[in-house]
Amino acid sequence: MLEASNISLSFGKERLFSDLSLTIKTGEIISIIGPNGSGKSTILKALSRSIKPQEGIISLDGKLIHSYGAAALARLMAVLPQSNNAPNDLTVRDLVEYGRFPHQHWWKNTQREDANALDWALEQTRLCDLSARLVSTLSGGERQRVWLAMALAQKPRLLLLDEPTTYLDISHQLEILELISHLNRSEGITVIMVLHDMNHAAHYSDRIAVLNKGSLFTVGSPEQVINVRMLREVFNVEADIWLDDNSRPICIARGLAVDAAKSYTQPKKGAQL
C-alpha cells in the first residue's frame, strides 16, 4: 500500500500542491486526471520519490518511502516517465534487460533469474518476435511496449505511468491500456497512471483521483467521480454523460462552461490592447 499523507510541495514561490492525501490500495488501477498544470505529473513524481515533498510523508507498506534504498525501491516500484529516449543502436532485448539493473549485483550471479524475468516481460508485451530489432526502428506503439517491458522486467508490485498513451494513435492507446489492465488482473500489479483521456480513465480504472490546482478535488470510482459538476468546476466544460454497458461513464464535452466561455466572447470593459 502506497500512502501520501498531507504532502505539500512548492517550487520557489509557486505552490505545486498543498496538504494532499491519497491512499493507493494494493491491486487496484488508479488514474490521476486533471487539467493542465493541476499537478498530475508532479504528484506521480512525488509518489515515485523523484521529488521530495517539503511537508507530509509518503509511505510504502508502512515504511517511509525515503528510507528505502534506491535499488530496493526499484525492485518494488517501476516508473515510466512521459517521454523516453534511448541510444539508437539499442535492441529491444538490450533495453528490456536494463530493467534487471536493480536486481543485479557484482557479487551475485543473477543470470538465470534475469533471463526468466526478461522472457516473461517480452512475452507479456508480445515482443518476443521483435526482441532483436533496434528500438529506434519500431513504431511508436511498439516502442511504448518496449519501455513497458523494461518496467516489467523490474518485477515490480507497483507500476507508475505518466501518460502512457500520449503520442499514440487510438488503437495503440487501447492496446497499451488493455495490456496494463491485463497485467493488473493476471499479475496483481498495482497501477497508478496519469491519463489525459477521461473516458479511458473511466473505462480502465478502479478509482479515479481528480486533481485541481494542486489539491485533490475528489477521489472515487469512475461513476462517482465523473459527473457534470466535476467537469464544469475542474475542467471548465459542459458535458453530456452516459453509462456504457459496464455502467462506466462516458462523457462528451459540448462546449466550454459558461464562465469560461464568457471570458472569450465578452472582453472585460476597459480592457485595452
Binding site: 534506491a70 535499488a71 529516449n85 536494463y98 539493473f101
Partner: protein
Amino acid sequence: MQNNLRLFAWPEHRTLIRVLVLFVLSVAAVGGLLLSLANGAVSIPLGEVFQTIFYSNASSQNQIIWNIRLPRTLVGALVGMNLALSGAILQAIMKSPLADPHIIGVSSGAGLIGIVILILFPQCEYLLTPAAFCGAMGAALAIYVLAWKGGIRPVRIILAGVAVSAFLGAGIAGLLVFYSDRVHGALMWMVGGLSARSWPHLYSMLPYSIVGGLLALFSSRKLNILELGDEVAAGLGLSVERTRIILTAVAALLAASAVSVAGLLGFVGLVVPHAARLIIGSDYRYLIPASALLGIAVITVSDTLARTLFAPVELPVGIIMAFAGAPFFLYLLRKEP
C-alpha cells in the same frame, strides 16, 4: 531511420562484431606502441626493439629504448587512454555531445597554473606536473561548487565550465601578452606535447590511470543506465546524483593526470570517444575499452609522426592529432546514418 553501419545492420551478430572490433583496436594500440618504439631520430628494427626490451644489453639502442622511447611511448599511451576515458565518461554524465575534459575546467586550470610556472617561475619547472594537476583539480572543483544548487545539473556544470574557463583563459591570455618574450615554452605547453617525457612522468600518472581505468570499466553498466535519462535511471534504482558526482570526479582525475604531464591536449578527449562510439556503438561495456584502446593508438601513432615527419624538428603531438584527426572524425560523422 535506416542504419548503414555494419554493426547496426545485424543486431543479432553484434556481440561477435564488437569483440572483433575490440580485437582490431587492441592490435592497433599495440601496433601504435611498437611503431613509436621503432621510429624516431634513429630507426630501430622491430626485432631489435624486442631484443632490447626482453634481453637487456649495453648497446646505444638499449639506451635509446629504455631512457627515451619506452617511457615517452608509455606516457603517451596513458595520456591518450586517460583523456579518452575521461571524455567517454563525461559524454554520458553530462548528456552533451560536446562534453570533454575542457568543460569541467581541467584544461583551463592546468593551463593557467602551467603557464604561471613556465613564465613567472621558470626555475621551478620541476613542479610543473604536480602544480598543473592541482590547477586542474582546483578548477574542476570550483566549477563543481559553482554549479551546485541542491544537486548537480549537467547544463549548470557546462555553463559554469564555460564561465570558469573563460575567466582562467583571460588570465592565460594576459600572461602571454605581458611576457611575450617568454612565450615559447608556454606555447608548447598549450598545444600539448610529449617531448622529453620520461619515467617520473609515467610514475606520476600510473596510479590515477589504473584506478581511473578500473573505475571506468566497473561503471560501464551505470553509464549505460544514465544514457536512458535521469528519470528512467532513477526509476531503475540508480542514485543518479551520487553516480554523477563520483564519475565526474573520476573523469577529472583521469584528465588532470594526463593534462598535467602532456599539456593541453584537448582533442583526444572529445573526438576519440565519439569515434569509438561510431565504430562500436553506445554500449559502455564495449565503449570504455574501445575508447581507451583507440586513445592509445591515436596518440602513439600521432606522436611517432610528430617526431619523424619533419625531423629533426619535432612537432607537438597536439598539432598532428588535430590535423589528421579532425578530417577523419568528419568522415566518420558523414558516414553515420
